[in-house]
Structures are given as C-alpha cells and as structure tokens.
Amino acid sequence: MTGWASFVAMVAAGLALLFGLPMVFDLFGLLQMTVFVAMAVLALSQGFIWGYGGVMSFGQTAFFGLGGYTYAVAVLNMGDSTVPVLLSVLVPTLFAALLGYFMFYGRISDAYIGVITLTVTVILFNVVNSTAGDFYTIGNAALGGFNGMPSVPPLNVPGDPSSPLDPEQTWYAAMGALILVYVLLRMILASRFGRVVVAIRENETRAQLLGYDTRLYKLVVFAIGGGIAGLGGCLYTNWGSFISPTVFGLAASAQVLIYVLVGGLGTLLGPILGAFGIQYLISLIGTQEAVNANLVLGAILVVFVLLVPQGVVPVVRGLFRRVPNGRRGRVAEAAVVEP
C-alpha cells in the first residue's frame, strides 16, 4: 500500500473500532479495551522514539507515570479536568526535554541512554513509593506513597466539572486520543522533520555531515515521545480512577518494550497490536495460578530478541509483499519507509 492508502485504511479501521466496539462489547469488555488503548498510546510513544528516532529509552513508563500523577494531582486540585489533561502532556514533555538535554547533549551512546532512562524510572519509583503520609500533599492531593492515589475524578466535558464522562464516553475519549496520536505521528513522519529523524536513525554521522543538529532532533523526538506517554498515563489513571507507583516499576517498563518488539520495530501499527496482544495475554495469565506473568513475559522477550528481532508486523507484511523474483531486501526496506 502506498502512504496515503495505508493512512486512510488505518484511520478508517480506527474509526470503525471507535464506533463498533461499544456495540459488540458489554461494559466490562469495553472497560478492558479502554485500558488496552491507554497502553497502546504508551506503546506508540515507545515505538516512535525507538523505531523511528532510534532513541533507546528503557524508561518510557517514567513519563507515563508522571503524566498519570500530574493528571491526578491537578484534577484533585482544580476539579475541572480540561487543564489537568493538558498538564499531563506538558509536564512529561518538559521532563523528557530536560532529561534529553543531559543525555543527547552529553553525546552518550545508545546503551547509556537505555541505562539512564531505566535508572530514572527506578528512582521515580523509589521516590513516589516513599511519599506516604500527610507531609507529601500537593494542594488537596495526597500522593499516598506505595498505596497510590485512589478516587481520582474522571474526565469531564471540557469546562463543565459537573458532567463527568461515563465509561462508554471514556472509551470514546481514549480511542479518539489513540487515533489522534496515530494521525499526529503519521504527519510528523511524513514531514521534513520526520524524514530527518529517520535519516538520523539510519546514520547519525551522515546526518550530522549534512548539517543537521542531530542532538536537537533527538531531543525533540524524545520530548514528543514523553508527551505522548504522559497522555497514555492520563488515560490510564482515568480508566481506574487510580494510580500507584507500580506504573514506574521495572516490569511495567519491560512490558512497553515487549509491546513494541513483539509488534514490530519501525512501524506504528506494530506497537498498537503488540499492546493489545500482550495486555490480553496478561489478563489471561491473571485468571489462572500456575504460570507467573513475569516468567511468560520474560520468555517472550528473550525468544523475540533471539528469533524474531524485527517483530510480527514486518514479518507478516513481508509474507504478503514478497515480490516475484524474491528480493528479500524489499521487506526490510518497506518496513523502514512505511509506518
């Protein structure tokens, strides 16, 4: 498919799900899909900065959790959810920009970036975990330490705190946000900026020699990724009216990487499908006692890294797209160019 055709097809599929799922699922099913969508937004942020920007963030949940906490604190103080939603994107964006400044302008290697982002997540976890007690309140909002923040007010109709969204409307908001993020990322990738970003991923030195300040491009990509992850965190907090430090946990960070790796690196569809698939798997594992979820997720990660490092979506696309004379290079090339 060409760029436009795949774009239209994806958005149409998204809209079909947006309006179709409420007819197919009961309320419980729809609620479950809503949290899957929040995870898919997080997966998109990881898929964007890793698959296109080549930035190896191991701590995307830092921004996810930060977005969730920002929303919770702000909405408890303000009542109306409009500004808190914006803040839940803005604060992680700024935090990512600050962190990105130290990392990219320090010109540290990819592996170091992985370790630093991972460390930031771990330390955020420890910090938020220790904020139990009355001392740690921001305005009306008690951070609650390891107990998390319960009864966070839900989204409301913008500007009208007295009319909160019911679960079905929350689904529309969440899925709508996912579609918007997808469209935004497609537009970014189709723009001149997006092309430079992909060029940097392909060969950073060459991009520098062509006169692009690769540090700045990576910084902006990282900040955008942080903002999107923050939006995901906001949706997640909304879904359960609850947020706790486990969102910063190592298991959570690993899950995001697994979404992207299983779905397919260098695609936007892959992370979304990966998030839905893995989340579904986790909910299945949760219903039985025999197998531990960490064990399964860890095994999946190891197996995919060793055997299917490019992920499911590119492999499937490759099967459909094999040209008659069997030039295998086309497959990899297609995965690079088309989201």
Binding site: D110, G114, V115
Partner: protein
C-alpha cells in the same frame, strides 16, 4: 567527633556496598561491553542461595562466601552458553535479552519461593563509635569489598589469565591470532562476573530483605556506578563508588535514604554531561 566518625563509617560502608554491587557488572561490561540487565537478579540469586543453604544447615560463611558465588557463577555460565553468546556485538539486543531473563528469573523465583521477604540474621553484634552503636557486620562488608576489588586487580594485573583477559579486551582479533580464543575468554569472564554478583548478593543478604524483586533496589545504583566509572574495571568502579557513595550517604544523612538516591542520580546525570566516557574515560586512562 563521634558523630563525624559515625558518618565517615557510614560513608565507607555505602562505598563498599556500591563496590560490591557493581564489580560483577563492571567486569562483564568492561570486558564485553555487555550491560547485563539481569545483574540485579544475579544478586538476588546469590542472596537466595545463601538463605536456602543456610536453612538447609550449611554454615553461613560457607553459604555466603562459597556456595553463592559458585551457584551464580554456574548459572551465569549457563546463561552465556544458552543465549548471550549469540548476541555479542549487538549491545541493545543483549540488554533486551538480559532484561527478559531478569523478568523470567523473578517469575521463576516467585513461583518457587513465593512473593515473601526472607532473611538471614546478620552475624557479629555491634560496636560503639563514641556514643553511637553501629553494626560490626558493616565492617565485614567493607572488608569483603576491599578484598574483592584488590583480588580482581591482582588477578588482572599479575596472572596469565589476567593478561589474556586484558589483551582480549583491547583487541579481540589480535588476541585470537595469538592463540587466545575470545569466545572462551568471554565465557569465563561472564561466569566470573556472575560469580562476583553472586558473592555480593550473598554478603548483602543479611543486611537486606531477600525477596524476588530485591534486585530492582540495587540495579539503578550498580548501573550508574559502572557507567560513571568508565572503561577501567577496578579503578573506575572504585572511584565512581567513592564519589557516588559519598554523595548519596551525605544526602541520606541530611534528608532521607530515598533522596540520597535522587542525589546520586543527579550527580550521575551531571557527570555524564561533563565526562560522557566515565571517570576513567578521561582521567587515569591506563589504569585497570
């Protein structure tokens, strides 16, 4: 005066803990440029080995100083043979694979031992610095860290094995041409790093709660220390431990242990901005 003594003792202890935590990681990273994200779980396995074998009636010292490193070293050997060796040169992939391993090990240990905190009683009693009572075991931890670092340095500096390891580190192809096959060296080094992690886990078991997720409490500090140290394994880890251990202990004394960790992270971020290659990437470049 006594308070100063106590703080100095705590700083020394904090440095020793950092050395213990990061030396195994440093060996593996310095030699093979592999960042073992399952390092925390290697420590955890060392701690569990100690707890389990002590409960089975083994002498605590034997369990801690012999059983833990041997068991984890063998586990590391197995891991290297099973999948690390397929991933040499693919740094990000090794990080992902070892992260998968870390999750799987956590899951496995949770399945076997349950998600509970165990512990072994710390031996020795306490001793007094002026009016302050402190643990004698901390002194032992400091001693073990010093012996471990010194031992590693002596091995790398003076033995034939150390010579081969350093040669492989500098130029694997040349070492191979001279008859030292890098795959074997890597295998042994990975097992050595794992054994050091196991030893650290064993020694720290009495002073920390032993649970399946205990690794995550350590790894952030271990990674920062190794990256901050730079290419020289012993000197780098030692210097970075001293710097970060000192900073975090002083911050802990002034605020809370959690903000001690935050101070450590901030110090690391600033240092990476100034010295992206780590301390020994710029200074003391010819050290070990």
């Amino acid at each position: 005066m006594a308070l100063t003594g106590l703080i100095l003792f705590n700083v020394a202890n904090s440095i020793a803990v950092l050395v213990l935590l990061s030396l195994g990681l440093g060996v593996i990273y310095g030699m093979m440029k592999i960042i073992n994200l399952a390092h925390g779980e290697f420590l955890m396995l060392g701690a569990y080995t100690t707890v389990v074998s002590t409960n089975a009636g083994l002498n605590l010292w034997v369990a801690m100083l012999i059983a833990a490193p041997v068991a984890v070293g063998l586990f590391g050997l197995l891991v290297e043979r099973l999948f690390i060796r397929f991933l040499y040169g693919r740094m990000i992939d090794t990080m992902l694979a070892t992260w998968g391993l870390s999750l799987a090990v956590i899951g496995l240990i949770t399945t076997i031992f349950g998600n509970t905190v165990r512990g072994v009683a710390a031996p020795f009693g306490g001793f007094a610095i002026g009016g302050y009572q402190t643990s004698l075991y901390s002194l032992f931890v400091i001693a073990v860290a010093a012996v471990m670092a010194a031992g590693l340095w002596l091995v790398l500096r003076f033995t034939r094995f150390g010579l081969i390891v350093r040669a492989t580190m500098q130029n694997p192809n040349m070492a191979a041409a001279l008859g030292a096959p890098p795959p074997q060296i890597y295998m042994v080094t990975f097992a050595l790093g794992s054994a050091l992690a196991g030893l650290a886990g064993g020694v720290l078991a009495p002073v920390s709660g032993v649970s399946p997720v205990m690794g995550s409490a350590f790894i952030a500090r271990a990674f920062i220390t190794v990256l901050g140290g730079g290419p020289a394994i012993v000197t780098g880890t030692g210097l970075a431990s001293t710097l970060f251990g000192g900073i975090s202990e002083v911050a802990t004394f002034l605020t809370t242990p959690v903000f001690g960790q935050v101070a450590l992270l901030l110090a690391a971020l600033i240092m990476i901005r100034i010295l992206p290659q780590g301390i020994t990437g710029r200074l003391l470049r010819r050290s070990l």
